[in-house]
Symmetry: C2
Subunit: 339 residues, 2 copies
Amino acid sequence: MRSVIMHAPGDVRVEKREIPTIIEPTDAIIRVTAACVCGSDLWPYRGAETVDHQPMGHEYVGVVEQIGDQVNNIQVGDFVVGSFVASDNTCEICQAGYQSRCVHAVMMGSIGTQAEYARIPLADGTLVATPGQPDPDLIPSLLAASDVLGTGWFAAVAAEAGPGKTVAVVGDGAVGLLGVLAAKQLGAERIIAMSRHADRQALAREFGATDIVTERGDEGVARVRELTGGLGAHSVIEAVGTQEAMMQAIRSTRPGGHVGFVGVSHGVQLPGDELFFSTVHLHGGPAPVRRFLPELIQLIWDRKIDPGKVFDLTLPLEDAAEAYAAMDERRAIKAMLTF
Amino acid sequence: MRSVIMHAPGDVRVEKREIPTIIEPTDAIIRVTAACVCGSDLWPYRGAETVDHQPMGHEYVGVVEQIGDQVNNIQVGDFVVGSFVASDNTCEICQAGYQSRCVHAVMMGSIGTQAEYARIPLADGTLVATPGQPDPDLIPSLLAASDVLGTGWFAAVAAEAGPGKTVAVVGDGAVGLLGVLAAKQLGAERIIAMSRHADRQALAREFGATDIVTERGDEGVARVRELTGGLGAHSVIEAVGTQEAMMQAIRSTRPGGHVGFVGVSHGVQLPGDELFFSTVHLHGGPAPVRRFLPELIQLIWDRKIDPGKVFDLTLPLEDAAEAYAAMDERRAIKAMLTF
């Protein structure tokens, strides 16, 4: 089968590798219908993480081709969405809603879903079948649920976005934009998107942003405070992962407010004294997308949300290198790969 | 009046200074009945914070001597307890329960309550009157409510201690011990006190600890994990403020669990990547003691809790230097000063 392989930073190729087979009786094999490039795939692409002949991709939707002997919840032929972390969904941590930290967690990035087929470990716990075969126009949104929508949603939940709240969003990538959508769905009163790109500002407004702040760093913080009576936002979503973005998020939050941070942390050191005196709540990490999948799939199925709009570039799998380049150069918000 | 003054690190004296007077119409003057030395007073005592002829103390109970023209909730003659932060208790931040970050907050440490009299700014918002004049044996517990009990209580609330939860407590000073008491009152099922001092272990058990862990750092973390089926505690209270204690707290918490940190942070740098992948909740800072005061005073008044037991040394004000030395050398958990 064809699969995206990152040979080294910046060197993305589509190559043949073996079609995966059932290894554990809890596995399923799916034919991937659509995959995509994640903002977090850019860390190794840019050399910020080591990479050596790595099959890439952790977001996926597809059709079940084969199931192991112990798979009961999923049938061959089902159209399924899964999280970027495979989880049993039965352990104490999963049951508490933290499936991304399941005691048996398998990172799908170690398997690589930018490929025609993928082995899904712990299929019963990981995969959620859609109510039927989806209309083609729903595929991008269902694919978004696999990571970026689920991650933006978790960030909004972690930031306790809700009625009466002002939510600020640091980061205008797909996750930040879907954090705006999530905050809107969760009933936030006011949503401040921090962005300096016209196309992303437009999508943020479409998803529910009421205010746009173009300033960054301390100036961005000052602007958020100005918009919130000097107090800061109740809820702040951080969707970048850098020191600047984390400090911007913490400083934009009012005392007692909540920061939901989901940008994969790179080189961040949080000063304890500032965090102490800020009295904000801090919660985040790899999103337990599985917690939210049934609800998100239903919202998409009922056409109440359209998170697939973050895909502003669609390319055949063969052009994966261009998909990476376009995202790296910010020519695309998010690129979908079709088969 | 007599007042404790720290001339320089390690140099604590009792000297005369002017009896304070009403400055703002929202002030009250109280005659301090009892004061005490805080673990946080040891930071400047040990030279970890600069200090130069500073009137010391921020914990207090006493009798109202005089009130400003705009004070309505408090009468002359009332016995009152106040937090270590004066707050208006009416601003949006106070109303959200974060009185320690009131938009008009005044740190009582800048005024100094280890003295015969103290000016209390924003008296209506800051002071809570007891139901009547307290029996003398209640004074230590009411004094504890002013900071260490309120701080331990906030830590337990921030850590979401409650029924069915296992709570671990890092730090066996007065705040950590009262964090144990708070966790017990909040209904925690199991409380693991981390301590290597027999007297503090005994008090922890008296306050409700079910397990004692004597190991520290990585070994302490391993022991907590061993006691919790390999997962870590649901709730962890951090009551020290050092890098080691913060990391011990974060690493002792299960995915999705809560860390309540109240040790005044000194030299702490939290690694963003570890915090990200931990998926714990982090919340803390200067405790909004005022939020809890009415409830805590009632529990003490009804003799349902006895937090005053943390005072294992009582000295007259004149012997303040010895009170500081005894706490610094860990000969005392907490020292009360009487007048």
